[in-house]
Structures are given as C-alpha cells and as structure tokens.
Subunit: 400 residues, 2 copies
Amino acid sequence: MFKVAILGFGVVGSGTGEVLLMNSEKITHEAGDEVELKYIVDIRDIDDPRFAKYAVKDFSVALNDPEVTIIAETIGGAGVAYEYTKAALLAGKHVVTSNKELVAKHGVELLEIALKNNINYLFEASVGGGIPILRPIQQCLSANRITEVYGILNGTTNYILTAMSEKGASFEDALAEAQKNGYAEANPSADVDGIDALRKICILSDLCFGKNFSPDLVQPIGIRPVSEYDTKYANQGGYKIKLLGRAVSDEATDKVAVYVAPHLVSSDNLLASVTGVMNGIVVRGNALGDVMFYGAGAGKMPTASAVVADIIDCCRHTKNRKRIMWARGSVEDTFPSANIASRWYARVASPEGTVKKYIPDAEILGGDVSQTGFIADEKTKPEVERQLEPFEVLSLFRVI
Amino acid sequence: MFKVAILGFGVVGSGTGEVLLMNSEKITHEAGDEVELKYIVDIRDIDDPRFAKYAVKDFSVALNDPEVTIIAETIGGAGVAYEYTKAALLAGKHVVTSNKELVAKHGVELLEIALKNNINYLFEASVGGGIPILRPIQQCLSANRITEVYGILNGTTNYILTAMSEKGASFEDALAEAQKNGYAEANPSADVDGIDALRKICILSDLCFGKNFSPDLVQPIGIRPVSEYDTKYANQGGYKIKLLGRAVSDEATDKVAVYVAPHLVSSDNLLASVTGVMNGIVVRGNALGDVMFYGAGAGKMPTASAVVADIIDCCRHTKNRKRIMWARGSVEDTFPSANIASRWYARVASPEGTVKKYIPDAEILGGDVSQTGFIADEKTKPEVERQLEPFEVLSLFRVI
C-alpha cells in the first residue's frame, strides 16, 4: 500500500484526486500495489464530499506521517511550494509535481537533494500537461545526441494566434475572446508575454542538454508584437505564426541557446497544423531526426493524469530511483540566440518597390502602399538587422 | 562494462553498430558504464572495416560467451530470430529487437520467459521505428484507462497515398514510383496489403489493453482498394485517405477489436497532415484525451537509435527488469471490428440523384454520371451495408 498526500487542491490538485479515484483499478495494477490518498493539504476548505475527509490545513501533518511516502505538489509558484518540496525531499519522501516555475528555478537543487536521499523528484506534468515528453526524452532518445528541441508550449497563446489567423482578429480582440472563454487569465501576462513558455523550454533544455539553463538569463518575447497584418501576410505565404520556445545546442562548443519568440512556421512543418489550445513539441536527435509529441498541453484531467503517472513511477522505483538529473549551469554554458542563423520575416513601413530595391531576393508575402511583409535569407540577428537598416521595421520574426 | 552482440547485419543491425560508435560517449553516460560491441552474428561476410572484426557466423559463440549480457536481434521474421531469441532469453541474456513480426506472433511467450528469468525483452523499435511510443504508453499513460489507439503505422503505404493525393496518381503508378525511389520493395505485399501495419497495431493493442491479440485473428485491408477517384473525392471534401491500424477497447466488456483499413481522415485530425514516409500514432486515454506521436517510422538510423535506447535501458535495469508484460489472449477477448460504429465513405456506381433518392442526408463529395462518392451517417458495418444494398459499391471506407 502506497499512501499519498496532495498539496494544494486547485485545478491540478483536484484533478489528481479524481484520477486516483476514477482509475484506481488500473493504477493499482500499474503500481503493483494499492495507491491510497491519505491527505489533501490546503488552507482553503474542501467542500467536495469525495475529498473533504482527506483535508488538513497543516502541511506538517502529512510531512510527519511516516505512512505517507509520496507527495504530489500542485500548489504552483516558487514560494511555499519550494519550502514544502524541500522539506518533503529532506524527509525522504518522493515528490511529484506539475509546477514548472519551481522546476525551472530550483530544479537542480531539488534534484540534488532527491539524489542524495535516493528518492524521486518527478515532474512530467510540468511541460506539455499530459503529453509524454520528459520521460521519452530521458529514456527513448537516450541513444541520440539531441541537437535541438522546440515547440508550441503554451495553449493560451496558441489559442489567441489561431483565432487571429482564422478570423483575422487583432491581438486585443482575440485575447478578449480567450478571456471570455476561460482560456486566458484576467492578467494574461505569464502566458502572452512568454514567461510560461520560457519556463517550459528551460526545463526541456535542462533535460536534453544536461545543464541547468536559468529562465533569468533571457527575456522572452511573447505574442503582443504580432499584428493582424503579420498574420495576414503569413497566411498569404503559406505560413502560420506560432509562439515557439526553442533550445539549440552548438555542436562545436556544447553551449546552449534558449529563447521564446513568435515564429513563422512553414506549412510543411507539422507544428503549423497545431491549432487552438493544443501543444506540439519537436525533438531533434542526431540519429533519429525529428519526432513530435502532440496533445492537450494543459487542462485539469490531462495534467493530473501525468501527475498520477509520476506517482505510479515512484511506486515502481522505491529503492532504485529514476535517473533524472542535470548539472548546475551558468552563463558560461550558454550562447546568445541572436547568433543562430535562420530565415527572417520582416514587416517594414515601405512599399514593395523599396524593399525590392534594397533586398532584391526578398520573398514578398503581402503588403500595401504603407508596408510590406517579406522573408529574407538565412542570417544571424545582427546580420538581418544590418540588412534592415534602411527601413522602419514594424515586425521581425524568425522563419522555421 | 556491458558487452553486446548484434544478430543480423542488415539495415537495422548495421545502423545499431553505427549508433553505438557514433554516440558512444552519450551512451556510456546514459548507461552508467561503457557499452561495447563484442560480436556481430551474420552468415554473410561483413566488409565494412569498422565492423569486420566483430563478425562471427555462429550464434553459439555469442550465446555461450558469459561476457555478452545483451543481444540485439535485428534479423527479422519469426524463424531463426525466434529460435535465437528464445535461446538467448533462456540463457539469461537481455534481448532487444526491432522485429515486429516476432513480437506480434510470439511476444507473449518470449515475455513470459524474460519474466521468469528476471531479464528484459524490449522492442521499442518494433513500432514506429525511432518514434518513442511503447515506453510512453507503458509509463506516461499508466494513470489512464486507454480506450483506443490508432495511427499511420506504415511509411511505404503513406508515401504511396500521399503521391496519389498530391499528384492524382493511380495506385499502380504511385507504387511504381515508390519502388523506383526505394520506398517500396519489389514484392510490396507486406506493406501494401497491410500485413506490416497489422503486426504493429497488434503490438500496440497488446500493450494498451494487456492481452495478446494475435495477427492471425484478422485479415488486414491494404491500400489496393483505393482508387484515384477515392483520393479525388476525399480531397474535394477536405479529407485525406490514410491506411490506419486501429485497436478499440469496449468499456462494458473489456473486449478489443483490431483492424487495418484505409480511412478518410478529416483535415482537423493531425493525422491528415502526416505525409510521405512519416508515421503518426494517436493514443486516447480516459483522463488525457488524445496524444499523438510523430516521426520517421522506419529508416536505418532512427530505428537503430530506438534499438540502442533499449540496450541502454537493459544496462539501467540489470537487476530489476522493466515491467513490460501482457497476458495470453484468445478470440474470446475480442469483438468484430464491424460492430464499431463510425461514419462511412462510399463510392457507388450511380449518379448523385440516385444516391440522394435512397440516402437523402448523404454528404456528396464528388462524382460524375457513372459514380458518386459520399459520406453516410454513423453506423456499424452491417448497417451501412444494408443501407447500400440498392447500389453497386465500388469503395467503402470508414471516416475518422
């Protein structure tokens, strides 16, 4: 019998409780023994009669109960969640979580504690919700030198960009609609400014390249700079605008660049077909080529099912912890993403003729008398900025 | 130090050798110790100087060498491969393989031997080439009751169907082109008649639903019945024709239906965008919803990288074998796929007016004076056949 405490009874926490009840037979079979909920720790009252009996307000009850060997941390944030996780790991309890902020910021320290205590700290649900991604990278792609990982990591922004693309809406109107439909928060900054996507791509980078890349090292670019003109010109050229998180390893130096920014995605890339709140993540291996993982990147039950899968994995690995670890990294291990060469989409405040005069091989996507959207040849960021010096640049996104 | 023998030095076997050399540093890191190739068993001579030194013609040399603890079986087929695999497992050696025919036919017996000897029999490469799929199902989706798994499991047929769709080619012309370009064998039957896809969907079914579904229980339908008219009408309606393997679990009875057949896939299903030789596999969980795995489903290096990932997993699990197992199944555990209700595409030798007369709500996709392609409402197969009794039916495919 394995006894579990859930910390935080919000969306993912209550979903975790529901999955444990709904699929208890399957879970027992997979874990090799019964998995029983013992406590739900939340400062708020729990009204749901299925769960009220587990409620405690004081974390130390769960922490000090030797029967509880697995903690599901679904509080979120890097405050009390950090404190509780550290305490649980130091007390020799396995911890599983969906908390991307905590893993991105303090993962390396928490993994070190877990390693020292020969217990598990697992966080499949922190990236891509229920999509299996961290474990496949860790295990299935282990024979590959991974060179790059990138993807649509935030469902809210993809929902907004899809609405802009399909309805020709402005960013403001599409955001308002997303908020009305419950897909965006009243304060949407963590999503639309790319902060959430940055945390996730940092975790992916840590896992793929073995060294911690701190989200503090880069400033994400969100989707506010995407105008309805960009969407229109992209569509005309057969592209879709997607907010991508991307991590690239330089083979010669082993240094890593991580960034988040809008991209024009060509229609022959499957990510262009990932619409609405769905997520898609591409991993490139030197033997494998590209593989993509696709599914609901958020949502109560999908995310909870990943939390519970990690609980099951803790049951299976009580003695021999899962080999999941990365080293401390520093700015020395990174290189600026501006140095990555790519094609670029630019929208400039000049008519097509002026663009053609300065950049004869520009691929014109669309425009009018006041502006032109076009694609320029493969270049680093400083190079394309030099090329665009004659223009007033309204938008500048990479093409992938 | 882990010592490995490769059985069979064909495409996947030589790729396995190359991945072991190319990524040896990464592999050592992941396995926790050096992984060294000791023998390559093949009755043919090996000319490549990098590998000639490992060549032996007699399997018993590898079998009787106590230093060799891991065998990579890349012979293929269910003849000598079966015999060697059984001998290796009985001798207490871990076996990894890309051999879908052997796993589909004899997996349950070989897994039983592996379980008894507390060793691993792993076969990630047998489905989807390098795409991580079996392990994510086994581990990441463990908290879900899986209700369905389906996908594009054969690259050759997808290449042919893509050519038919994009160029309006006939099946015969598209097959000839695929053969010319090395994507189809001189005798293409295993691919175009759905035999390869059936083996793979049986393995997926075994793993998802826990009981062996023998490929002998069903007759696959391949892509020979797909005409250029079907492709044309499908395109006109916004669908793509794809050969899908599909396994569905009936919740009430826990019985499973498995089949392989061409389908019309709606453009809002990401599988419709999987073109050329690529594979895409959708898994549906009761908590998770749908996730999709996408990548190169075949090819030397991708498949070999999955074989080597399994070798690494054997190194990590020398004492505590991976929990991968399914029970013996029989026809009692199955139900006929004809009982699954779905929408249907039919092409009949009648003009549109006649179709409308008998089936007023038919969604007409296209046609001419001699024939009509249309979509009929959700029905089981016997029901749709009854509905189509007034017609000469030229094609009948499910819509998904």
